[in-house]
């Protein structure tokens, strides 16, 4: 890792008088094993690296990147970025981040045990996952994919303004996608397990989840259309919470693209909802000590008891808003820093999911949604997504249902949160999931 920082500092050292230079350097190693019918279908062993350089002069920024760390490429990237800035419109708020004195949280996100884990053991995990998924239920007819994947990544950011930041982390992931068949009908189900090192992984849980989620959909029918109380399971609620977090980006607010733009301090959600973005929580798989500009990440309360508390900022949007960065610059080496949440979660309730379901006489449990990219408009707030799940009748889970949509607006759904489960769980995305009961969504089926 010192090498990455050295490299970043070397580029920064080439800055000319009167210009700011930022270099982001990333190195990543990945392994991916896919098992199929008791054999390894593919084994990918990958190592990649890249550098992104930003140059700012007179309020104009230029950017360039390359997917290599070859010395000859570095100078070329800097020259390209320098040339690119001449085409930008000057803007008084355009500048690199400055050190702000906030000390990055000391997060232990790196496990040497993953780095040293032999490939054969990773292969064995994928094969075991496939075998257990098949064995979990006689109705499992196949496994479309059973994957083990991991990554070991390191990064460094350096700037002429005095930022020096590094990070390294490991992560591994098991995912199984089961096919269940009965009477000529096929249903699918997904199960996973994730962690920072292989010993965190629970093969049995991933296999059992995939099998249960697929088999319980067998015999699913299309539900009638109507308004209904809907329970979102953690996998589904996390996807929505990530989208809600996205609407609170300072950039979206400043550019007139946030439905919450003028609503700071107002009640925008049910009073039981407290929403926090906290990348310093090591339990979040997206945890990180420093953001895309090299500033320390921090715990940001977005909504407290339903009241909108804050938007998130990188250094540029903070300057524009007359405030300080919330450590929310997000980026890869191939892009300039945007603004976004990283690790959103709601404060959990005190009710187990089963009790929440027991309290519903007539409703629907949604276990999967599709088409979030096409059915959610984060500017207007309208959403409508494909869904599958189980009916709830008389407080118990009843028949499976599929081929329907659930729809509302983000604004209304937040106000319609009736209850929150005690099952907050970090997922492989920018949010944690939790069982959420929504008072009313429109279900479109038959």
């Amino acid at each position: 890792m010192p090498e990455l920082l050295d490299l970043a500092e070397r580029i920064v050292g080439w800055a000319d008088e009167g210009e700011q230079v930022e270099a982001v350097v990333v190195h990543e190693r990945e392994t991916e094993v896919r098992a199929y019918e008791g054999e390894v279908e593919s084994l990918i062993s990958a190592e990649s690296q890249g550098v992104g350089v930003r140059v700012v002069r007179d309020g104009r920024q230029g950017f360039a990147y390359a997917g290599t760390l070859d010395s000859d490429a570095l100078a070329e990237v800097l020259a390209e970025a320098r040339d690119n800035l001449t085409f930008a419109t000057p803007d008084e708020h355009c500048a690199l981040a400055e050190p702000d004195g906030v000390k990055p949280a000391e997060l232990d996100l790196y496990r040497a045990t993953l780095v040293d884990h032999p490939t054969e053991a990773k292969v064995a995990l994928a094969l075991d996952l496939e075998r257990r998924t098949r064995a979990a239920d006689p109705r499992i007819s196949g496994v479309e994919s059973a994957d083990y994947s991991d990554s070991i990544s390191e990064s460094a950011v350096a700037t002429t303004t005095g930022i020096l930041a590094t990070g390294r982390e490991t992560g591994c992931f098991l995912s199984s996608y089961a096919l269940a068949e009965q009477d000529g009908e096929t249903q699918t189900g997904f199960g996973f397990s994730l962690g920072r090192e292989p010993s965190d992984l629970d093969v049995e849980e991933a296999a059992a989840d995939a099998a249960e989620r697929s088999t319980r959909m067998l015999g699913a029918v299309k539900p009638p259309s109507g308004r209904m109380t809907v329970v979102l399971d953690p996998w589904v609620s996390a996807q929505f919470l990530g989208i809600v977090g996205g609407t609170l980006s300072g950039e979206a607010v400043q550019k007139g693209r946030s439905l919450f733009a003028d609503r700071l301090g107002e009640d925008v959600a049910a009073p039981l909802l407290t929403l926090v973005d906290d990348p310093t929580d090591p339990a979040a798989h997206t945890a990180t000590g420093s953001d895309g500009e090299g500033l320390a990440t921090r715990r940001n309360v977005l909504m407290a008891d339903g009241r909108l508390e804050r938007f998130v900022h990188n250094s540029e949007t903070a300057r524009r808003a007359g405030t300080v960065s919330t450590g929310s610059a997000v980026r890869g080496y191939s892009s300039t820093p945007g603004v976004g949440v990283r690790a959103v979660s709601v404060a959990g309730g005190d009710c187990p999911p089963a009790e929440l379901i027991a309290a519903i006489d007539d409703g629907l449990l949604v276990q999967g949604v599709t088409g979030l990219h096409s059915g959610v408009n984060a500017v207007s707030g309208d959403f409508s997504t494909g869904a599958e799940g189980l009916r709830i009748r008389g407080g118990a889970l009843a028949e499976p249902v599929r081929e329907f949509t659930i729809a509302s607006t983000i604004q209304k759904m937040l106000l319609d949160v009736l209850a929150i489960g005690d099952d907050v769980r970090w997922l492989p995305m920018r949010a944690a999931g939790v069982t959420l009961v929504i008072g009313e969504l429109t279900v479109s089926g038959v």
């Binding site: 199929y36 088409g371 059915g375």
Partner: protein
């Protein structure tokens, strides 16, 4: 200014002798097949947002992916280092990953370079001064804002890429391609009493900067603005099953999701598609003919050879309602003892190829588009679809509508708010009851599968599905 690329630039990216050696070493552990895929991609993008040129960015990605197949197992490794040392290291990693049991180097002899010529590009984007690209953004911004004061935000993006690929494999194949793509998009926000609404338009072709000889970015911007403005008056979309008419060029996504993915041979082989085992059967209404065509010159999803070196083809998937064939990559085709259909694609050298669509379209029919609407008592007319998603194993798919209207008594009436529609592929194909003659290609798309995005095109004439579930909120 025809094709100014110089001879050195179209020469081999990696020396064929070195490729031969690397392939030979890749087979050292007993592999049956080895392949080197070399890629060099340069891209430029420029972004105007909030009235300012925020950023111009340049990118360069260059490297090679090496795969080795042993029995049922594929080993894969990649490197950004195209030197003999870098390629040999990747080759060793790929053959180790394939876990074969052999030893020694096997000799591979590459044929002379072959394959169809790359498309001719009139004006390479790299030969165009950056300020001309930036000027297009300013023009689009002004045109959209001038359309109406209610347009409160405009984002315009220009992007080009020049991708060179070289493929060599242990069957002796040596080929390559150069693919140049140029894209322009405009997104607008309109503000009104009903809140914020968005409108987007994009155009993208596998051509160079000559794209702008035939595309007026001002017109594109005005259409995006119009779409956002229209939706300020939108009523909630219906909820439930009703007839849906899709306008010309707007509906390719429906076929891409309803059956396109389900006809990809990798999913068929795993019985993860509702269309598995159904070749020769009637799967769609009479008159439905669906084609995937990678040879459509200039379209967003076209190329001379795919990312396994196979020339692009025109593949008829459904002919007058009958399922004629699936789409194939090399791996799946080899298992069936047939040829690939030229559908082996990958996002870049860091990825394994798999079966992907190119330009997928519904062939024109004979109905009159106006009569289709007039003959629909109560339904929805979708002028533009957004993205979509499918579960190929169940056939259930969704797609978004980004511009749509109610049809009442055979007339288009109020615009409706955004949302998804949901259907089941086999049922929807059989439920198509009208196809017009007004074929048009749609907007450029990026198709995502298993974490990889590739450019795809689509097209349709006006058509009607007798029943589809519209996922709105209206009672």
């Amino acid at each position: 200014m025809k094709d100014r690329i110089t001879r050195t630039e179209i020469g081999p990216m990696v020396d064929p002798q070195l490729l031969q050696d690397v392939l030979g070493e890749a087979l050292a552990t007993g592999g049956e097949f080895a392949e080197v895929f070399v890629e060099d991609r340069r891209s430029t993008s420029a972004l105007l947002d909030d009235g300012r040129i925020e950023e111009m960015a340049s990118g360069r990605d260059r490297g090679a992916g090496i795969r080795v197949v042993v029995g049922e197992t594929t080993g894969f490794a990649h490197t950004a280092d195209l030197s003999p040392t870098g390629l040999r290291a990747a080759s060793a990693a790929a053959s180790a990953a394939a876990l074969g049991g052999g030893d020694g180097v096997r000799e591979v002899v590459l044929d002379s370079p072959s394959g169809p010529p790359s498309a001719v590009v009139d004006v390479l984007p790299s030969d165009v001064a950056k300020d001309r690209k930036v000027a297009l953004l300013a023009e689009a911004n002004e045109a959209a804002r001038a359309r109406d004061g209610a347009i409160t935000q405009v984002t315009a993006r220009y992007a080009d890429s020049q991708r060179r690929i070289q493929i060599a494999n242990s069957d002796g194949l040596l080929t390559g391609d150069r693919q140049v793509r140029t894209l322009f998009s405009v997104s607008c926000v309109a503000s009104g009493d009903s809140g914020l609404q968005t409108g987007r338009e994009s155009v993208g072709h596998t051509v160079g900067f000559e794209l702008f000889d035939r595309v007026d970015v001002g017109d594109l911007a005005r259409r995006a603005a119009e779409r956002a403005l229209t939706k300020l008056d939108a009523v909630p979309a219906p909820s439930g099953e009703i007839p849906v008419v899709v306008g010309p060029g707007g509906g390719g996504v429906l076929f891409h999701e309803a059956c396109g993915h389900g006809l990809e041979a990798d999913l068929i082989a795993k019985s993860a598609s509702v269309f598995a085992g159904r070749r020769g059967e009637v799967v769609a209404a009479p008159g439905v003919s669906l084609v995937d065509d990678g040879t459509m010159t200039g379209e967003w999803g076209c190329y001379a050879v795919d990312d396994e070196g196979r020339p692009a083809q025109r593949n008829v998937l459904i002919s007058d309602g009958e399922l004629t064939d699936y789409m194939w990559d090399r791996l799946r085709a080899r298992k069936e003892g047939r040829d690939s259909s030229g559908n082996g694609r990958r996002q870049g050298y860091r990825y394994l190829p798999m079966v992907r669509m190119t330009n997928t379209y519904l062939e024109a029919g004979n109905d009159d588009p106006e009569e289709i609407v007039a003959g629909t008592d109560h339904g929805v007319y979708v002028a533009q679809l957004g993205g979509g998603q499918v579960n190929t194993a169940t056939g259930d798919f969704v797609f978004g509508m980004t511009e749509a209207y109610l049809i009442e008594d055979g007339q288009l009436t109020a615009p409706i708010r955004e949302g998804n529609l949901i259907g089941n592929g086999p049922a929807v194909l059989l439920g198509i009851d009208a196809i017009a003659g007004d074929f048009a290609m749609g907007s450029p798309g990026t198709c995502g599968k298993d974490g990889q995005g590739v450019p795809v095109g689509d097209g349709t004439p006006t058509f009607r599905v007798s029943r589809l579930t519209v996922g709105g909120t209206a009672a």
